[in-house]
């Protein structure tokens, strides 16, 4: 029963992660990319907590708390970066920002 429910948790986490990955790869809007990254982080968190519960080990939950805390900090940095980027080019299309590419450099 518990094994089954673990499998369910992981399935859900995998689906969430895949949606996040798909979002990162296929969308152009930097905001959407950011949201997809958050989705992937939460999928990982879900796995941490499910496995922590399964193994009766609080380490996984502690790690999940850390991930949430770091994600919060990251949100601050990321949002401010997005604002700066927007001020530069008046757009949020990720393909526009290519100063560091080989073609631009050469």
């Amino acid at each position: 029963m518990i094994a089954n429910s673990l499998f369910m948790y992981i399935t859900v986490a995998m689906i969430l992660f895949s949606i996040g990955l798909l979002g990162v790869i296929s969308r152009k809007n930097i905001f959407v990319i950011y949201m997809s990254i958050e989705l992937m982080l939460n999928a990982i968190n879900l796995i941490f907590i499910a496995l922590s519960n399964y193994h009766h080990d609080m380490g996984g939950q502690v790690l999940a708390m850390f991930v949430i805390a770091i994600a919060a900090a990251e949100a601050g940095v990321f949002l401010s970066l997005i604002i700066v980027l927007y001020r530069r080019k008046k757009t949020l299309d990720s393909d526009i920002f290519r100063t560091l590419s080989q073609k631009e450099a050469v």
Binding site: L21, V24, I25, S26, R27, K28, I33, S94, D95, F97, R98, T99, L100, S101, Q102, K103, E104
Partner: protein, 628 residues
């Protein structure tokens, strides 16, 4: 007592360092007076001479060789090579006349070089030269000897190209250095083989001599030849003699030092030092004797046509060295060293006399532009006459006794070919030396470009001393035939003479013959040059002999140019076309590859994310399925 051996070497070394530092000071800070250089330069060889003499007397009194090992020079595991000095009868005998004649040459040089800007530098090299030679002679093993051997080569290079402003002198110095390197390679090969077979927790003459008989005969012969190649280079024998005539580019005292007391006698000394080896391989000895004989004749022939006073003397040195090698090759080491001894006196005298004439004529070296010097420099005239008689082999001058002894050895050991060649060379020697003498001192109707002047007494005093030496040195080795006891032969007992298997009557005949052939040579020279008239003369500047048998050209063609071609081939074909192309192609390929990889970095952030995820997935799969 044995500690004096170290100081014999150290005295000139320290003074050379001192002079070098003073010279550095004088050219960078403020000029010093010449006496700052003169005093240590003259003092050091004198100390060496006094110490050498005391060591000589000690050995003469107690009859045991001095041996001094101050410190461990090289220790590799079991092998321990000590910095060692050996003062036995042979080396102390060498030290005596090296320091004595060397000191006189130093004295002479203080006057000869007095106008030169590089006065201090000159004596720095000069003392270093003497020190190297003394180290060579006093070493107790071949490795220590090799230090001196190379030091002598280095100093000769520095001194030959002393007037380095002229490119020809630099070329001459280079030639001496490079030709000596060829010989040194042979010497090193010989040492390496000896080291492999005969080093026994040490590498001195004593240990080699103790183990030499364990070597196979063919290897001993190889070592003998290899060491002799080294001697060829240092002592200017065929085929490595070409540097010696060119070495005349240096100042005249340098020529005197190289030819009389140091450097060229190193080869003879080395062969005598390895007598224990050469006695086991008489065939190689015979080979050495033949090389010596041919060198003697060859040099004598070339000398008959030269017009540069110093080159004539250079070829005469080579010729006399040939005699010495005849003697060492035939095992008569004491005869060879006797000739080295007498040669040191009269050859130093000849060079210094020539230098005096050159100075008197404002640096003119062509004998056909000299003439009439008899009246200008009577002291030089007299001393040169004595030296010329000595080298020609007229009794009772020094050269007669030693040359006679060598010819006797050649005759009595049954090598009549060598004897014949040596006799021919003796005729030529007398001829070309008196040709030089008559032209320079007796020639008539000469118009000097500058008015000649007499030279100072500082230059003439060593000439007088050496003239006395050339007159008397022969009596040291007076043979028993003439009522003497041959002090040198007795002294060098270990390197004793071969027993002479000819009757007294034959000896007398040979002696008379030697005098006769010398007189013959002088007679020819007298007939052709005694009343030499410059106004009617056309200088010969053509012919095979004048051009030294084109040996320089042949060497140039055979070695210099072929090696140049080979290096050009390597530089153009191999290096540019193959190596460079390969290397440049490699770097070009790397650059191309870099461009290819750089295409991935195209600023598509989402592509990066995909690649990253693919990578992580691949790594995860690897972790799960391969590592379990």
């Amino acid at each position: 007592m044995s500690v004096i051996l170290a100081f014999i070497v150290l005295a000139p070394l320290l003074s050379s360092v001192l002079i070098g530092l003073l010279y550095m000071f004088s050219i960078t800070k403020k000029p010093l007076r010449k006496r700052w250089f003169t005093i240590p330069a003259l003092f050091a060889p004198f100390i060496s001479f006094v110490l050498g003499l005391s060591g000589f007397l000690y050995v003469a009194k107690y009859d045991i060789p001095l041996h001094f090992q101050p410190y461990l020079w090289l220790g590799v595991g079991e092998y321990k090579i000590y910095m060692g000095f050996l003062g036995d009868k042979l080396s102390l005998f060498m030290v005596l006349f090296i320091t004595f004649v060397g000191w006189l040459i130093h004295l002479y040089a203080t006057s000869y070089m007095s106008e030169d800007k590089g006065y201090g530098k000159f004596f720095f090299y000069f003392n270093l030269f003497l020190s190297s030679m003394l180290l060579l002679v006093l070493a107790d093993g071949p490795l220590i000897m090799f230090i001196g051997w190379e030091g002598v080569g280095l100093c000769s290079y520095l001194l030959i190209s002393f007037y380095f402003q002229d490119n020809a002198n630099v070329v001459a110095g280079n030639k001496a250095f490079i030709v000596n390197r060829v010989g040194d390679l042979g010497f090193l090969i010989g040492l390496a083989i000896l080291f492999f077979y005969c080093s026994d927790a040490g590498f001195s003459y004593a240990t080699i001599a103790a183990k030499i008989s364990t070597m196979p005969l063919w290897l001993m012969e190889l070592v003998g030849i290899a060491l002799f190649i080294g001697a060829m280079g240092k002592s200017a024998q065929i085929p490595l003699y070409v540097w010696l005539p060119d070495a005349m580019a240096g100042p005249t005292p340098v020529s005197a030092l190289i030819h009389a007391a140091t450097m060229v006698t190193a080869g003879v000394y080395m062969v005598a030092r390895f007598a224990f080896l050469y006695e086991l391989i008489p065939t190689i000895g015979l080979f050495i004797a033949y090389i010596g004989a041919f060198s003697a004749l060859f040099a004598a022939i070339i000398a008959t046509k030269q017009s540069d006073i110093k080159k004539i003397l250079a070829y005469s040195t080579m010729s006399q060295l040939g005699y010495m090698f005849i003697a060492v090759g035939l095992g008569a080491y004491s005869s060879a060293l006797f000739h080295v001894f007498t040669h040191a006196f009269f050859k130093a005298l000849l060079f210094m006399g020539a230098g005096a004439v050159i100075v008197a004529l404002h640096h003119e070296q062509n004998i056909f532009k000299m003439g009439k010097m008899r009246h200008v420099t009577p002291v030089v005239y007299m001393s040169m006459l004595i030296a010329t008689l000595a080298i020609s082999g007229i009794p009772p001058f020094a050269g007669f006794f030693s040359k006679d002894e060598i010819l006797l050895v050649a005759f009595s050991s049954g090598e009549y070919v060598i004897w014949g060649i040596a006799v021919c060379s003796a005729v030529l020697t007398a001829y070309y030396m008196f040709r030089l003498f008559f032209v320079v001192f007796e020639g008539k109707n000469i118009k000097h470009a500058h008015h000649p002047h007499d030279v100072s007494w500082v230059m003439k005093a060593p000439l007088v001393i050496l003239a006395i030496g050339s007159l008397c040195a022969g009596f040291v080795g007076l043979p028993s035939l003439l009522g003497g006891s041959h002090l040198i032969g007795t002294w060098l007992g270990e390197w004793g003479m071969r027993a002479v298997h000819v009757s007294h009557e034959t000896e007398w005949w040979l002696l008379a013959l030697n005098v006769a052939i010398s007189l013959l040579g002088i007679g020819i020279a007298y007939k052709k040059f005694s009343a030499y008239d410059f106004s009617k003369h056309q200088e010969v500047t053509k012919g095979v002999v004048y051009n030294k048998f084109y040996v320089d050209e042949v060497y140039d063609f055979l070695f210099v140019r072929s090696i140049k071609k080979l290096s050009e081939f390597f530089a153009v074909n191999l290096d540019v076309n193959i190596v460079d192309r390969f290397i440049m192609g490699l770097s070009y390929g790397v650059i191309k590859l870099g461009h290819l990889v750089a295409l991935v970095q195209n600023a598509h952030v989402r592509l990066y994310a995909l690649i990253m995820m693919l990578g992580i997935s691949a790594a995860s799969c690897y972790l799960i399925y391969v590592l379990g």
